[in-house]
Symmetry: C2
Subunit: 377 residues, 2 copies
């Protein structure tokens, strides 16, 4: 899932995201809550209507970003008080209000409020934090069940390019085609996912998984990783946690990762991932290619007539040279960000397409061992 923090995947128009084949993108509740505010988004039919995005959206609970604010937040049993990074104003998220905000934002998948345990943390602290997340998960679920009918989708028209959004939903009558617009309607609902915590402790991860599953969610996320721990440890936790998650529900690994990592975790059984890496790296001129990473700002590319990635069919690689992309970056042209982001997203989406294709062919292991074995320059 590309990240569209403030209702925009930075620099890329929605119709190009559709053309890239983006099926789902992520919005950040914390940012949207502060600006433009959930009431504004609700009034436009939720994020789908507000940002004119006809395909799926997931919002995080705001928890991870609030917990990243460190000095600006205070956690109690009731919820978390935090200060806006924009103007210092004081705000409060409870499990109930975080779900309420996400119902108003109207994403297809929303997340229970959790506490992202810091790293490192001792067992006592990790367990207490996990228990808090479990109590918050129950409160989130209860609030969601009582209020999920308030989702602001009723007959709100969402524009798209001529592309069918979700054939299954159309057949089921949940989305109807209405003179060029897709209309989200009734009979289609949000899904609230639970989040597994438990820090770096395998026993607590198991307990967190089992007790979150007892609450019962339509999908489960693995949170609290990529917080500073060594990468082999991340993989170990993911692998151990996955053992305890039902295979018939989506398994979502939050905040991951590099192209190599998304292939690796998909191989372990992860179904969904999100990461700012492709878009953020693009803004810094760091580009992912089938031949390895390229830092396009380097002078060595100033006269390079080759496409960015000779094995990539994206609109950037089909049309432009490395020399032109290097020039745009060196000249501080905004088009550098636009084109770099388009390519990196295309590369990530292609990677996931190949993963899916390989899974369909039942060749996971062969694919996974071959896809990253090309020689690097």
């Amino acid at each position: 899932m590309p990240v569209g923090t403030a209702a925009s995947v930075k620099s890329v128009p929605q119709h190009l995201l559709e053309e890239l084949g983006v099926q789902i993108l992520l919005g950040n509740t914390y940012h949207l809550y502060l600006r433009p505010g959930v009431e504004t988004v609700r009034r436009f039919g939720g994020l789908h209507g507000f940002m004119a995005w006809p395909r799926a959206i997931l919002t995080d609970s705001g928890g991870f970003q609030v917990f990243s604010l460190n000095d600006l937040r205070k956690v109690t049993e009731e919820g978390v008080t935090f200060r806006s990074h924009l103007d210092g104003s004081s705000h409060f998220f409870s499990p109930e209000s975080a779900v309420a905000a996400q119902i108003a934002l109207g994403a297809d998948i929303i997340m229970a409020l959790d506490e992202c345990t810091e790293y490192p943390a001792d067992r006592r602290r990790t367990q207490a934090s996990m228990e808090l997340t479990l109590r918050w998960a129950e409160r989130s679920k209860k609030y969601f069940d009582e209020h999920k009918h308030e989702v602001p989708w009723q007959q709100y028209p969402v524009p798209s390019t001529e592309y069918p959004v979700n054939a299954a939903a159309v057949q089921a009558g949940a989305i109807t085609h209405n003179s060029g617009y897709w209309v989200l309607g009734t009979g289609y609902s949000q899904s609230l996912f639970g989040i597994i915590q438990g820090g770096m402790d395998l026993a607590l991860r198991k307990e967190s998984a089992e007790r979150t599953i007892e609450i019962e969610f339509p999908g489960y996320a693995i949170g609290g990783l990529s917080v500073g721990e060594p990468r082999p440890r991340t993989r170990e936790i993911v692998e151990a946690t996955l053992e305890h998650l039902p295979k018939d529900r989506p398994r979502y690994l939050m905040g991951v990762g590099t192209p190599e990592e998304i292939v690796e975790y998909a191989g372990l059984g992860i179904d969904m991932m999100d990461c700012v890496l492709p878009t953020r790296a693009a803004r810094h001129g760091l580009l992912f290619t089938s031949e390895g990473k390229i830092s396009i700002k380097q002078a060595r590319y100033a006269q390079d007539a080759e496409p960015l990635d000779p094995n990539c069919g994206c609109l950037v690689c089909r049309r432009y040279s490395r020399a032109y992309l290097r020039h745009l970056y060196a000249a501080n042209e905004v088009l550098a960000q636009v084109l770099n982001t388009l390519h990196n997203l295309s590369f990530y989406l292609d990677t996931m397409r190949r993963v899916r294709h390989s899974i369909q062919l039942g060749e996971e292991s062969r694919f996974l061992s071959s896809v990253w074995s090309r020689p690097k320059p």
Copy 2:
């Protein structure tokens, strides 16, 4: 002509410029000379190849921008010495070297080096400046005639979306379609335009026009306007100068203008104009619509579900609300610049399409009096 200063119409990918119907864009020799340098651009087949733009390009001579540097330049009979705004390094443009740079850049239309007379200037100063421009025009023409075969187009492939670039050129064999690429070839050449100066003096404008025409160029530009004079004076000079320009050669008014002005000047007989206004205003949230100008940053648009311009069919107006555009601007999202620029360019191009259509119908006067008479909000 949209302005693509440093080989990019700021923030807009080339395939979207093609989709907007841009037929020709402008590059700035001064900027391209400094970065990435004319030799780099030449090596890629000129600007067409370097920026992957299959349609027409015009480059200015660099003169106007050099003369805008004020303290950083020194004019002699031989040419103009100037300092780079990037690093303070010293450079020199003569009529010959400015044409040489533009041959290397390979635009379809290139401009003779002129001195843009400052405003205000007395008659003696205006005449001396005009005489210098005339001598430089002769030198530019002579150099061009001796070197025009050096244009770096020979069989250089230029990518485009599936759109035919220039049917006439294809029929004439100058551009051939080659497996998805357009190839600029021989039999197709650059055109060097002369520039009329003469300040605010009608007699000197007449003399400048007559003596520039004697040198003989395939097209003529009116320079030295929009330099601080009142707008009625601009119109007066344009009207008076046009009388002395041949109707069978393109007449190009440099650096103009607002949507109202381009309609007005087209009505007077101007064939070509360029201006940074649509793209620069877009970056500041100033949008042109059929109902007048909109400053999208205003809070009044925060809840406005209407399209930017209800009479516009561009991809921005078809898809997004004013509230979303206002949010993007307020949140400092780069997409604000992308979408605002797309709309403003679309509005300008639509305006010119309506001007052309009206000319074809022979209804100039009726059109010109009606097109800007809609009520403003």
